[in-house]
């Protein structure tokens, strides 16, 4: 077996925030070529690590297929593994696995030997929690603390949900939801607390595939199908990424920003050299930042609204680093035939229609879609319809930040404790706090002028109302405060500053700089302490760097005097930067990448010919024709066009089609939605029946 010396150029070897552990190599074969994966790695990431981005061609029209959600939701990444079609993003590479691209329809292996069966295992539990993300874990912790028997199932190999992708520090409240701690670390903290609770059983690699009228939940646990009968069900399945329709939206290389974060932050794959981000919410802004940290050039970000909807501090962060943000711009087309090669964007009017003549094109290999999230709530709705006692927490209940999901899980967990007849305290202010943590960013205020007459002080460039408090907690002088005691208000500096840098390192938004005006009166130089979350190689010591203001405009130049870091506490480095007096109050950071001029504009193709239903390759024009002919029942679109009839069960196209009805002026009340039915994901018949070969160990160790 040849495993040595194969190229693996797409793996991230060093990362400014993530510690990279050495893992064992597992050999496998893709279309006859010998490759290797890291132990436990999903097929999709292993292929990406070797630069393979295209996983096959669609049976309907031969269009190239690749990843889209990297979350088991969309079914775009089908490959044939040891003869069986599987989702590449949810299937770990096994030792010597034979992986083939899925070209057209898969054929069933002719394995005709008789099969023996075991009875399907039936399990009863007080509470079944579906989803091991922040909400599910926090709810299970509350249940476990009360000794309530609880089973938590999660479809990934390890717990944490999207926390495992969040390398940045969290916003929110320090005392209630780990604000100031990185998401990846929160996942570890919560998982280990859960592991210490004896009444909670955790099943990872366990996908809940259906809720049935006999109040049982079907769970596929490492290939074994188990029916769970809970007294109470908690759905905490999180969210899936919304998508956007435009010509080229279905090309390999166009995928979700969350999918991207899975690749770079969980699997340490660098899937792109140059990318463009569509959408200025928090996911798009943070995704851009994570790309830069992974050493990827972010050519730009566009947002259709006049302002980004994500946190201002996140936007400032990427602007400072040199990412152009195009507000009031929409994507016109992704270019390429077998993979993305470029993108064209254009200014858009208030109806989000592109304005002719304002197109800009960029050469990129990847386009990230970050246009919002929708709740994964199918199991919730089915359980409600079947009269089960069911609750929802986190994004399954309402889309919000992960900090809100942590708190939501805690709150719902205690409510379930109560519903089981056990006394427990739910402080009356919790409902209010839950609402605050869920709130969208409020108005941005005028930046407060720096204090007069002081030699040392912080400048807190955080003028937007967001729920976040670490700066007020880390200052040893308690000199950064909320004047009205609300976590939503804007923090201000009142008192004395030691220029210790704790606020600089502790601010999740990297929005604080401390200024020392008495640094070098002779040369008229001030010393700034600015946050920096990149490798020190990016800092030319003793040399000059470009300094920028909070919008990313160049202020001047500065010299790096020293870099402070305390890896044990935070991976956020503090750069001590000498700048001229005159620049001291303006400089908010250091530019990392130079802005690129757009490439020559590319011509775009027709507007409505693009694919909306990816699974069945149904185009917008076909759906529009039906809507305009009077179709109001989405189930009829299924019947006539097959839209929504495919492998993902309409999860990807549902919202796009609903949006098309809205665009045509048809109110939602007149539209009949897709009927919900089991299963939520495709399940092999062998697994559903307890056939013995389905239960064979799915080991990835050397035979």
């Amino acid at each position: 077996m040849r495993t040595e010396g194969m190229p693996a150029s797409s793996r991230i070897a060093t990362h400014p925030v993530i510690d990279i552990a050495e893992k064992r190599r597992v050999p496998f074969v893709f279309n006859g070529t010998h490759l290797w994966a890291e132990e436990g790695e999903m097929i999709s990431s292993a292929l990406f690590a070797h630069g393979i981005h295209q996983f096959g061609h669609h049976p309907a029209d031969g269009s190239p297929q690749g990843i889209f959600c990297v979350n088991g939701q969309c079914s775009q990444c089908l490959v044939i593994a040891d003869g069986i079609p599987v989702k590449a993003c949810m299937t770990a590479v096994r030792w010597d696995m034979d992986v083939r691209s899925c070209e057209g329809l898969p054929s069933l292996p002719e394995s005709d030997s008789p099969v023996s069966f075991e009875d399907i295992r039936q399990v009863e539990t007080q509470v079944l929690v579906i989803g091991g993300g922040p909400a599910g874990i926090c709810a299970a912790i509350e249940l476990g603390r009360q000794g309530i028997e609880c089973l938590l199932v999660d479809d990934k190999p390890s717990l944490g949900g999207k926390l495992t992708l969040q390398t940045h520090s969290f916003f929110g409240s320090r005392s209630d939801c780990f604000a100031g701690t990185r998401g990846i670390r929160i996942a570890e903290l919560l998982s280990s607390e859960l592991a210490g609770l004896s009444s909670v059983e955790v099943w990872s690699d366990s996908l809940a595939v259906g809720v049935f009228s006999d109040r049982k939940v079907g769970v596929l646990r490492s290939g074994e199908y188990v029916l769970v009968s809970p007294r109470v069900l908690l759905v905490a399945c999180g969210a899936r990424e919304k998508t956007l329709g435009f010509p080229g939206c279905d090309l390999p290389g166009v995928y979700g920003a969350g999918a991207f974060q899975t690749l770079v932050n969980r699997d340490l794959i660098r899937p792109s050299e140059r990318l463009f981000v569509v959408g200025g919410g928090n996911v798009g802004l943070i995704g851009s930042y994570h790309a830069l940290q992974a050493g990827i050039e972010v050519v730009g970000l566009c947002e259709a609204l006049p302002q980004c909807s994500g946190y201002k501090v996140h936007e400032d962060k990427i602007r400072r680093l040199g990412v152009p943000v195009f507000t009031s711009h929409t994507v016109v087309q992704a270019h390429g035939s077998e993979h993305v090669e470029g993108i064209t964007i254009a200014r858009c009017d208030e109806n989000f229609k592109a304005i002719d003549g304002t197109e800009k094109s960029f050469d990129v290999d990847t386009v990230l879609i970050a246009v919002g999230l929708s709740p994964v709530n199918e199991l919730l709705l089915q359980a409600k319809a079947f009269g089960m006692e069911v609750h929802a927490a986190g994004d399954s209940e309402e889309i919000a930040e992960a900090s809100a999901a942590i708190f939501s899980g805690k709150l719902i967990g205690r409510r379930i404790v109560r519903s089981l007849g056990i006394e427990c305290d739910i402080p009356p202010e919790w409902d209010g706090l839950a609402a605050i943590l869920r709130s969208k960013p409020g108005p941005a205020h005028e930046q407060e002028a720096p204090p007069r007459g002081l030699r040392r002080f912080p400048i807190v460039r955080c003028a937007q109302e967001i729920p976040c408090d670490p700066c007020t907690k880390v200052c040893p002088k308690k000199a950064i405060v909320f004047e009205d005691d609300s976590i939503m208000s804007v923090p201000v500096f009142r008192g004395e500053c030691l220029a210790c840098g704790r606020c600089v390192a502790g601010c999740p938004g990297l929005a604080i700089v401390t200024v020392e005006l008495d640094y070098d009166p002779e040369e008229k130089l001030a010393l700034l302490t600015v946050p920096f979350e990149f490798s020190e190689e990016k800092l030319p010591r003793e040399k000059t760097v470009v300094t920028v203001d909070s919008d990313g405009r160049q202020v001047g130049e500065g010299r790096v005097a020293a870099v402070k870091s305390n890896p044990a506490r935070s991976k956020c480095r503090q750069v001590l930067l000498e700048v001229p007096y005159g620049d001291a109050l303006s400089v908010a950071g250091i530019r990392l990448q130079d802005e690129q001029a757009p490439a020559a504009p590319r011509t775009s193709t027709g507007e409505e010919g693009f694919v909306v239903c990816r699974c069945e390759r149904v185009r917008k024009s076909e759906i529009l024709e039906q809507i305009r002919a009077g179709v109001r029942d989405m189930n009829q679109l299924k019947a006539v066009l097959r839209a929504g009839l495919g492998a993902c069960g309409g999860k990807t196209c549902r919202e796009l089609i609903a949006g098309m009805f809205r665009e045509e002026g048809i109110p939602a009340s007149q539209v009949t939605p897709f009927t919900l039915r089991p299963f939520e994901a495709e399940v092999a018949l062998g697994a559903l029946t307890g056939s013995r070969d389905a239960k064979e160990s799915r080991s990835n160790t050397e035979p």
């Binding site: 069933l108 394995s111 005709d112 006999d214 079947f386 006539v640 492998a647 062998g686 307890g690």
Partner: protein, 387 residues
């Protein structure tokens, strides 16, 4: 509201072809449907098998018409309805099923059906990968086939609208107006529709509609589960029926096929009939049918199951539909009680009902048609052998 010659109640497997062939006869037709679009009741729950190889002459005649319609659809109407003429195959492992099937062969041949008993080796060719242990042979009828219920319903709607048929969706019939023994109108929650004739094609709800005009039609729905897989490359041509009861007392016969798109679609008859209109999926179905499928064709273990659902069979006491004009009220025509075979009988029912309304005589032999009368003796014991 303008008057229609005929109001069809139900835009499903039976109502749609009735409306279409009535419009072909030049009648002004309206269809009332309580769901939001065509085929949203039991039509979309059907698995799409279409065979004429029954043991009841009336059903044979109806389905011969249907097969004629399905197999020539593209030529006649231009639409693809997923026709796959792979026949039907009943593989047999036990003496009792062999006897049942062989006993009805003479009748089937009398009605010109292309069906015969074939040996185990032929069955192995017809059903690749079938479990050979104990296989005795079976019947094979190459003239039968499969077709997509969803696509047929959509095509019928298009064809109907092109012929002036009016559809009214989200309108549940609430009453039938009768004056001096004659139907004059149909009422829904929204509107009253004047008409000469009403066709009761309300499927599982035919009895409720009948009671609105004083007729107790013996149609009782029971519920069957079905499912569909992800598509795989074609390897199974016929629709397969296994008449044996399943293990553990959960199922009696079961049937499945690979449709024109490569998806496997499957269903069983539960051992204990679930009377009523509950259409919510149970946890049991997938495992029970999965085991039967894999026992019969082991390679199906790798099939990915996509969705499951439940549909209703509008059952009659003898397993034969109830078609034609009852003695009263005047203007009422029954197209009911299709016993879970409404989709495969649909075009045949439509052609016969349309001829009956337009000319006073059905398309098939009158004496055979009359065996489906509402006024027949439902307790005669002459039940359909292959329900």
């Amino acid at each position: 509201m303008q008057s229609h010659d005929v109001i069809v109640i139900g835009a499903g497997s039976v109502g749609l072809p009735c409306a279409f062939y009535l419009a072909e006869e030049g009648l002004r037709v309206a269809v009332l449907e309580k769901n939001s679009s065509v085929g949203q009741g039991e039509n979309k729950a059907a698995i799409g098998g279409a065979r004429a190889t029954h043991s009841n002459p009336a059903k044979i005649r109806l389905c011969q018409e249907s097969l004629d319609a399905f197999s020539t659809w593209r030529e006649s109407h231009g639409d693809d309805v997923g026709w796959k003429g792979g026949g039907y195959c009943f593989p047999v492992y036990r003496e009792e099923e062999e006897k049942t099937l062989k006993d009805i062969l003479p009748l089937q041949k009398k009605y010109d059906l292309d069906i015969d008993w074939v040996g185990p080796n032929r069955i192995k060719d017809i059903i690749p990968g079938i479990n050979p242990a104990g296989l005795r042979g079976g019947t094979y009828s190459p003239g039968d086939g499969q077709v997509s219920p969803l696509m047929v319903a959509s095509s019928y709607q298009r064809l109907c609208e092109a012929r002036g048929v009016k559809f009214f969706f989200e309108e549940e019939v609430t009453g039938i107006v009768i004056n001096s023994g004659r139907i004059t109108a149909v009422r829904t929650g929204k509107e009253t529709y004047p008409c000469q004739v009403v066709v009761n094609a309300a499927g599982p709800y035919a009895r409720e509609v009948g009671l609105m005009c004083g007729l107790d039609i013996p149609v009782v729905p029971d519920s069957h589960e079905a499912g569909i897989s992800a598509p795989v490359e074609q390897f199974l041509q016929p629709l397969v029926v296994d008449l044996r009861p399943g293990p553990a007392g959960k199922s009696s016969n079961f049937y499945f096929g690979q449709n024109s798109e490569g998806r496997f679609i499957f269903c069983y008859t539960p051992a204990e009939i679930l009377v009523g209109t509950d259409k919510r999926s149970t946890s049991e179905f997938a495992s029970v049918i999965g085991r039967r499928l894999i026992e019969l064709i082991p390679r199906l273990r790798n099939l990915l199951i996509r969705r499951c659902w439940r549909g209703l069979y509008p059952m009659t006491p003898d397993g034969v539909p109830i078609l034609g004009k009852p003695s009263e009220p005047e203007g009422l025509v029954l197209a009911a009680g299709t016993c879970g075979q409404g989709f495969m009988m649909g075009p045949g029912v439509g052609r016969n009902i349309a001829k009956l309304i337009a000319t006073g005589r059905p398309l098939m032999e009158q004496d055979i048609f009359d065996t489906m009368s509402f006024h027949r003796d439902f307790t005669s014991g002459k039940a359909e052998a292959l329900r």
